[in-house]
């Protein structure tokens, strides 16, 4: 028995050209490394770190998160603090979101774009108010940004290259990042951090836990209600122990994180998004804020706005595959003559749907038929085009 090539790897944040920027280096340990091992986590290399792919099993962990609450270690992600004169205009020159109307402690999903409108990374950006745990900032606006782990050093290089010298960019690499996701996350976390229940989706705030300065947002990557918690790395083990002592909470690995986000219709950078995809092709039009669409002035604006008006040549779609066999990343979308016209970018068996599901890029005209054909290792599978998410979002707004 052996893994089939080429699309058998678990989720792994590769560059879009297939190279892995970090694979050559020995993977580093994150602050919770020993904690994961003690909890029975099966550790694998991921984005330059060793991380738990599962504890008791992906299926059980996935369903537990949908029913109760799961704790995810996402400390590999990059946490950045950006502040200085005219920081709003400076950031808006690099991404298509409206940061001007963003109120303090409010966050939004956005994209770092290259000059051709290709996606360099997807991210969350929060406008900070006066109360925040990330350290001194000069007077004026400050933003907290969370970027993907595998791209964080490229992102920092890109930001530093394009932001004026007067703007300060701090990599908060002494902080861990945890996500608590699921319908009972609010119950468990509010016991440790009274007041988090009052936060609404895409809102954040500063909290104190045993003298440690935390930043907590109501957000996540599973489609469920939940929180993301930034905390000093030396507090991470004690906090993970405390939250996992709550009866609703179990630790959850990368495997279930991938199946949960896939069911939630959320793209994964390096797989569903990359420099070859634009926000329009990726069906992320909501990330192009109204004022920014009207004014332009973000990288690739001309191409992106033209593509938005005319429709993209290829578009990210959701698929439910007939039968039980998973169709995974790398499978082809084929036309009636058997020509490859698109590609599956994520796919797997969906525990909450109880069927194989996938995301693929394909010409919109082909998707309109309602059914597309996929080819994987010579075998053809029919798949139904469905709106995403596959499992309804349950955000608390």
């Amino acid at each position: 028995m052996s893994d089939t090539a080429p699309n058998s790897e678990p989720a792994h944040e590769l560059r879009a050209d297939g190279s892995d920027p970090v694979e050559e280096l020995p993977p580093q340990a994150l602050p919770l490394d020993a904690w994961h091992r003690a909890k029975g986590g099966r550790m694998v290399p991921f984005a330059g770190y060793t991380m738990p792919v599962q504890y008791e099993g992906i299926m059980a962990e996935h369903l537990w998160t949908r029913d109760s609450a799961g704790l995810f270690d996402v400390s590999h992600m990059g946490q950045l603090l950006i502040h200085g004169p005219d920081v709003i205009a400076a950031l808006e020159a690099l991404l298509p979101g409206d940061l001007k109307i963003l109120k303090p402690a409010k966050m939004r999903y956005s994209l770092l774009l290259d000059e051709q409108g290709g996606i360099l990374d997807d991210l969350m950006v929060t406008r900070l108010g006066t109360e925040q745990p990330f350290g001194e900032v000069e007077s004026g606006d400050a933003f907290y940004m969370v970027v993907n782990g595998a791209t964080k050093y490229d992102d920092i290089g890109h930001l530093r290259e394009h932001l004026a010298d007067e703007i300060t960019l701090n990599h908060l690499d002494d902080r861990a990042l945890l996500a608590l996701q699921g319908p009972k996350a609010v119950d468990a976390l509010d016991r440790l951090l009274p007041g988090v229940a009052a936060l609404t989706f895409m809102t954040a705030g500063a909290f104190d836990w045993n003298g440690h300065a935390l930043w907590v947002s109501r957000s996540g990557y599973t489609g469920e209600d939940g929180y993301e918690i930034s905390l000093p790395e030396d507090a991470a083990t004690a906090f993970a122990d405390a939250i996992c002592a709550e009866p609703e909470v179990k630790p959850i690995g990368l495997g279930a994180r991938d199946s949960l986000r896939l069911e939630a219709g959320l793209p994964l950078y390096g797989h569903d998004l990359g420099p070859d995809t634009t926000p329009v092709a990726a069906d992320l039009g909501f990330a192009l804020s109204k004022r920014r669409r009207e004014e332009g002035g973000f990288p690739g604006a001309e191409r992106i706005l033209a593509e938005r008006a005319a429709g993209p040549e290829s578009k990210r779609i959701g698929l439910i595959v007939e039968g039980r066999q998973p169709v995974r990343e790398g499978a082809e979308v084929i036309d009636a003559d058997g020509n490859a016209v698109g590609r599956v970018t994520s796919g797997g068996f969906a525990p909450s749907v109880q069927a194989p599901i996938a995301m693929a890029y394909c010409p919109p005209a082909l998707a309109e038929a309602g059914t597309v054909m996929l080819r994987q290792r010579g075998k053809v599978h029919a798949a139904r085009v469905v709106p995403m998410p596959f499992v309804p979002h349950r955000y608390v707004r």
């Binding site: 028995m1 052996s2 893994d3 089939t4 699309n7 058998s8 790897e9 678990p10 792919v53 599962q54 099993g57 992906i58 299926m59 059980a60 996935h62 495997g255 199946s259 039980r324 066999q325 998973p326 995974r328 797997g348 068996f349 525990p351 194989p356």
Partner: protein, 123 residues
């Protein structure tokens, strides 16, 4: 009856000319939750080392090789509706296929239970 094992974690149990093939408990544990199994059809001619079946977990797809040459007698039909049988009882009810052996001598290259246990212990 005797049971042999491959380095790729298949087992083959031989009873006269008929053999049953599956994946080991170690392999099933490594794969995790199994969601799909594709077994060969009756009459298919297999040569030792051929891809004979596909097993898919939530994480990944894997090929299952035949540990010996022969003609497929039947695939385990129960796995179509209940692929999780491979997790529940990999070395029993979760078998993949049966075949009539072409060449007994091929079995000599395989590991017995003790050798396989020692092999897995080193992984």
């Amino acid at each position: 009856m005797s049971r042999y094992f491959t380095q790729e974690h298949e087992w083959i149990e031989v009873d006269g000319e008929v053999a049953t093939v599956g994946i080991t408990e170690y392999a099933a544990g490594q794969l995790g939750d199994i969601v799909f199994v594709d077994v060969p059809e009756e009459g298919k001619q297999l040569t030792k080392g051929d891809d004979a079946a596909v097993v898919e977990s939530v994480k990944a797809a894997s090929d299952v090789y035949t540990p010996a040459s022969g003609t497929v007698l039947e695939g385990n039909a129960a796995l179509a509706d209940n692929p999780a049988l491979v997790n529940e009882d990999p070395e029993g009810e979760g078998w993949f296929f049966k075949l009539t052996l072409r060449d007994d001598s091929e079995l000599e290259e395989l590991m017995d239970e003790d050798k396989y246990a020692a092999y897995v212990a080193r992984l």
